[in-house]
Each structure stands twice: as structure tokens, then as C-alpha cells.
Symmetry: C2
Subunit: 199 residues, 2 copies
Amino acid sequence: MATSARERLLNAATELFYEEGVHTVGIDRVIERAGVAKATLYNTFGSKDALIRAYLADRHESRRSRITAKVEQQTDPRLRLLAVFDALGDSIAAPNYRGCAFVNASAEASRDSSIQQVSTEYRGWVRGLFADLARAAGAADAELLARRLMLLYDGASIAARMDGDPDAAGLARSTAADLLDAATAPTGAATGAATAKRV
Amino acid sequence: MATSARERLLNAATELFYEEGVHTVGIDRVIERAGVAKATLYNTFGSKDALIRAYLADRHESRRSRITAKVEQQTDPRLRLLAVFDALGDSIAAPNYRGCAFVNASAEASRDSSIQQVSTEYRGWVRGLFADLARAAGAADAELLARRLMLLYDGASIAARMDGDPDAAGLARSTAADLLDAATAPTGAATGAATAKRV
DNA sequence: GATTGAATAGACAGGTCTGTCTAGTACGGC
DNA sequence: GCCGTACTAGACAGACCTGTCTATTCAATC
């Protein structure tokens, strides 16, 4: 057998926790799919909560590498920023897409759960990436644009999950393109955020 | 006692389900807070699942009236559209805000649960409202703008819940204002969606 | 006053959950 | 050959869950 028990547990947890929710899926289902004894799980991870954290940390890593790969395919700063939404589009197109794993896990956990911390790390990384890419693309206020792009990014995952919208990522991407263009426009007329025109 | 058993049950369910999640909170906690016997709950609603649906339907109604009231306060079509985000801002400002009740409940339920149906109704209403307000404000493509505004609306609730961003609604509102302005601009240069310029 | 309906408290069944524990097995290094 | 390590299978405790059922109280109506 090529894979370690830890790896098989993490794979089983990833599939089950993501598709059915961390609360609904019990330990027995995880160890059954992993083909592993219960004691092994508790020797390896210590608790279900720790397994959930490991699942999310693993997810964080795989999302990061997928997004980074998409970004690196591009050289134009503008296309590099929009590539984040292309990576999201790939995820949404998967047949078993069920929304953002961090948003879902967070909704199931209590407010002060340690799950929130792992989610915060992931979200901080995405926002930081948006800010870096926005700066490189010459946005007037990169931090503000990054926060706006996060709205679109999260909104797209919600639209895909709740409404089954298959083009949610494309919608977010085109909107992001418009915001980016407005934030990098040479004329100060429609820079968006900074304009206090009207209300 | 002025309120009926049904009303007290619904109030207790609303508080507990929203703050702690529909899965985590058991029947016993609900009836204890409502000060009602278990048999009364089952005579009134039939099952926990039906109580959850009633909780969401109730939420739908209260959200609708709150949003409608905010919109009706304005006469300018542009401000009427943005008022939806003002209503969201009021919700987020509440000390116990925990995100969109429908998104959260949906994350806890199985994919084909009847909960999804109640959520779909709510989301359809919001999107329809956005489309109506966008049309009234003279947007070039009201349906497209409505879908984009949904991204911002959902994104703001996620940002508020996951990042604790107190100004998430303001951020979404200012972004929505920019999108609306672009979609109603007299010059065809920056109408946003329809422009196929660049990628 | 008797009857009826709706509520009450709470025991109970049958199931699921996490986490612990015992007992046994396979294998690599020495 | 022997020992330590990592694993397996599975019983078990203790808690919690939903939903049903019994037995009782209270108030309004006939």
C-alpha cells in the first residue's frame, strides 16, 4: 500500500467533510472510507476537531497551489489578477462543487471554534494576493480594490452553491475586470472608490 | 400570556437556530426557551425540519419587510437601489450578526433538503428586487446588474461574518454605486458589462 | 356540573455521536 | 529469536438526538 494511514484519513475526510459537512459526517464514516482503525485516527490527529483543522489546512494548501498556478500562467498584470477568478471557475465547474469549504465549515462551527482561525488564514492569504496583484496592475488603491474583489470572490461561490449558477465565476470575473479598469483608468473621472460624487 | 405557543416557539427557534446553527441546537433547547412542552411543538409543526422551514420562512418575511421599508424611504431611483445595502448594513451592525441565515442553514443541510427550497425563494425575491430597482434606475442591462449586485450582497455578508468587517455593507454599497453609475453612464465607453474591450 | 380540547411534564425507545480501551497482528532492526 | 512500533477490529461508556407516548392539569363551552 503506497499511501500512509494519515494520508488516507485526510483524503477520506476531505471528500466526506466537503460533500456532506463536517458536522453531519461521523468518525465512523471517515475511518471506514479510509480503511483505517479508529485508534489510528485518534493516535494520528487526537480528535475530530483536529482532523477538521487538518482537512481545512490541507484545503488551504491545495487552493493556494491551484490559484498560484493559474496566476503564473499569465504575464500581463491585468490577466494575472483575473486568473484568480479563472481558478475559481475551474472549482465551480467540478460536478461536486458545494461552495467554499471554509465558509461551509465556519457556518457549522461555533463562533469561537478553532476552525475560524484556519479560515481566517486562508482568507487573509487570498486578500493579500488580490492586493499584490492589484498593486502590480497599477490600481489606485490596491487595498480597497482587494476588499472589493473579495466580495466578488465570495459572492461567486455563494451564487454557484445556492443558485447553481454555472457561470458565477465568469460573472465575478467580468465585474472584477470592470472594477480594475476603473481603478487604473488614466482619467480621474471614473476611478470609482475615490469619487465622492453624488452619494 | 399574550403570545401563542406557536409564536413563542418560532421566536425561540429564530434566536437559537440563527445564533448557534440549526443542527447544533436540539429540540429540547428550543422548547425550554419557548416555555412549551415537546408535544406542543410536534402538534404545531410536525417535525424539526418543518420548524426549520418555518424559521426560514419567517426570516424571509422579516427581511423582506425591513428591506422594503428602507427602499420606500427613498424617492431617487439610484438611492432606492442602494438602500438595499443600507438595510444589510443595519443587520450587520447588530451585535449578534452571524451572516445570512439562508446561507448558513443551507451549509448545514444536505444538498436535496427542503431547506434549499425556502432559501431559493428568498434569493429569487432579492434578485428580482435588484432587477426592478436597476430597471427603474435606468441601467443598460438590469438583469446582469442584478446578478452582479447579488455577488456584492452575498460577499458583504460573508465578509462581515468571516472577517468581522464592520463596514462590509458600506464597501458593497460603494462598489454597487460604481457599477450602477457605469451601467447608466450616458457615454458608451465604460458601460462595463457590455464592453468586450480587452479580455 | 360535565365534557372536551389544548396544553403540560416527563419517561421512553431507538438511534447516533465522540472518544477510550482491550486484545491481537504484522513487520523492521538488532 | 526478540523487542518496539504501528496498525487492526471491535466492544464499550456516556452523552445527545428526534420523535412517541402516558398521565395530568386547566380553562372554556355546553
